[in-house]
Amino acid sequence: MQYSDILMDHFKNPRNQGEIANADGVGEVGNPVCGDMMKIYIKVGKDAKGEEVLADIKFQTLGCGAAIASSSMLTELAKGQKLEDALKITREQIAEKLGGLPKEKIHCSILAAEGLKKAVANYRGQKFTETHEEEEVEKEEKC
């Protein structure tokens, strides 16, 4: 298993790490039992056309190097984007932007992508089901 230089850079110098005290939406995914847990905070604003944008985004992560780097990359990709565009960020994009992820670390990028979706759902007052969750439950029984 080897991490790319980009990933290591995000691990060493995570972007947008921390919390937003008066966040508009918060999404928490994963759990410490399975090793990785992320919390994504978003602040929603409007652009000149009146469309919703991610004015600010921050993360908190308990997890491995790939989990921290995935969270960091997600926030970098999402920050300033239109909400609708940010929701389209996929795990593949996060992994690719990180210069690739080892196979066993793919779930880190899934968590990051879902963390944002959950935060947006929270902002919109919608319920969000982690597609990751089912997998997570299965894993929990084992780990």
């Binding site: 039992v33 399975c34 090793g35 992320m38 908190q60 308990l62 997890g63 989990a67 670390k105 084992k142």
Partner: protein, 417 residues
């Protein structure tokens, strides 16, 4: 940057004295040790010399030592070789007893033998201290039990298992199985329970005499004792039924075919010679260390004390009293192991972790889990293993660097204390 290596249970650096002994066998003494001519005989001398060192270590006969490619092969040969010898006698399902904290080179051999329908296996748990209990093994013994295999020292926690006590217990059981020693028959050896111990992590610190341990089969490896990688040995007590599991040559009494890895074998012999010369050695169950081991213990204790003083919410995993002097396994709650490992590595410090995230699987350490340690605490564990070259300055540096790393990761975590 001066790098600091605290992962001696993964592998040890080469001892220069070992390298010196090996060198001629990597250059001018190149013969095939099975050849009758002088080139071969000269190489064979090296193999014989090494075998002598190992027979001193085990306190055994010359021919009771078999060289292999390492501990994994030794373990495979011990387990499968014994089962195959028994099957040749009587084709039935035999029973093996092992523990849940064994190395995969034991556990996966057991699983393979189970899958092939050759054996049934009991996996004995451990207590919270990480110790296998002799009574648990005793309770698991059945009429068809032919083998107990328990590691001497656990690679993750460094906890020393009660090998001598298990050996004694098995000896008693065997006395009942073969009551009359006067009228021994050749087939009696298929009535016995044999005892194997994977001792790779014990050689540097614990008593290794086969007789003392009551073991019929003992696995050791070169690269855990400042010797070369790719070479190990299996002690096989005379009379223990073992069949070859690989084929193609007559070497090692037909038990382990293959051209002698002469430089490797000589290197293993040289590493064992160094162990034989270090004295006295700690008892099988802790006791007090001396010589170089005393220094390692002092530094390990300093590391633990320093960490406990500087970092809140830590937990030592495994029994400290029954542990080799080199090991400290510590969990740092609310910090993840792989992240800590990576940050330490950036500071030039090498350790290992029981976190799933570093293992290539999604499972945290099976050893810590067997000790009933919650998964989230397994993920938060680091293993420091010191060696004979570890210095006080290095330990000071770890104590200086680690608190910042743990604090940084805890601050990053969404979990609030």
């Amino acid at each position: 940057m001066n790098k600091i290596y605290l992962d001696h249970s993964a592998t040890t650096p080469f001892d220069p004295q070992v390298l010196k002994k090996m060198q001629p066998y990597l250059t001018e003494i190149f013969g095939n040790a099975s050849s009758v001519h002088s080139f071969g005989q000269e190489a064979l001398k090296g193999v014989d010399w090494a075998r002598e060192q190992l027979s001193k270590l085990f306190g055994c006969k010359f021919k009771e030592v078999i060289f292999t490619s390492g501990a994994s092969e030794s373990n495979n040969l011990a387990l499968r070789g014994l089962v195959m010898a028994f099957r040749k006698k009587l084709e039935k399902k035999y029973h093996i007893i092992t523990s849940k904290i064994e190395h995969p080179a034991i556990l996966e051999v057991c699983q393979a033998l189970e899958k092939e329908g050759l054996v049934e296996v009991s996996y004995i748990g451990v207590n919270k201290k990480g110790l296998v209990e002799v009574d648990e093994i005793k309770k698991a013994i059945k009429d068809n039990t032919i083998l107990v295999t328990i590691m001497y020292v656990n690679n993750e926690t460094g906890v020393i298992q009660p090998i001598r006590e298990i050996g004694k217990m098995i000896e008693k059981v065997n006395k009942n199985r073969i009551p009359n020693s006067e009228s021994r028959k050749p087939n009696d050896r298929f009535k016995k329970i044999y005892f194997h111990t994977d001792a790779v992590q014990a050689v540097n610190y614990c008593k290794m005499q086969a007789n003392y341990l009551g073991a019929d089969l003992i696995t050791i490896s070169g690269h855990k004792i400042y010797g070369p990688k790719g070479v190990g040995a299996l002690y096989i007590h005379e009379g223990t039924p073992i069949k070859s599991i690989t084929f193609g040559g007559h070497q090692e009494y037909n038990i382990r075919p293959g051209t002698y890895n002469v430089p490797g074998i000589v290197g293993l012999g040289a590493a064992v010679e160094l162990v034989n010369n270090q004295s006295p050695i700690i008892s099988a169950r802790g006791g007090s260390a001396s010589g170089g081991n005393d220094q390692i213990r002092k530094l390990r204790d300093k590391l633990i004390a320093g960490i406990q003083k500087a970092i809140p919410e830590t937990q030592i995993n495994g029994d400290l009293a029954n542990r080799v002097p080199s090991n400290a396994n510590i969990s740092f709650l609310n910090a993840e192991g792989e992240s800590m490992l990576l940050m330490l590595d950036l500071e030039g410090i090498a350790v290992s972790t029981g976190s799933a995230c570093a293992s290539g699987s999604l499972e945290p350490s099976h050893v810590l889990r067997a000790m009933s340690i919650p998964a989230e605490i397994c993920h938060a564990s680091l293993r420091f293993t010191l060696g004979k070259g570890t210095t006080e300055k290095e330990i000071d540096k770890v104590i200086e660097v680690l608190p910042r790393i743990v604090e940084r990761l805890r601050k990053m975590s969404p979990l609030k204390r």
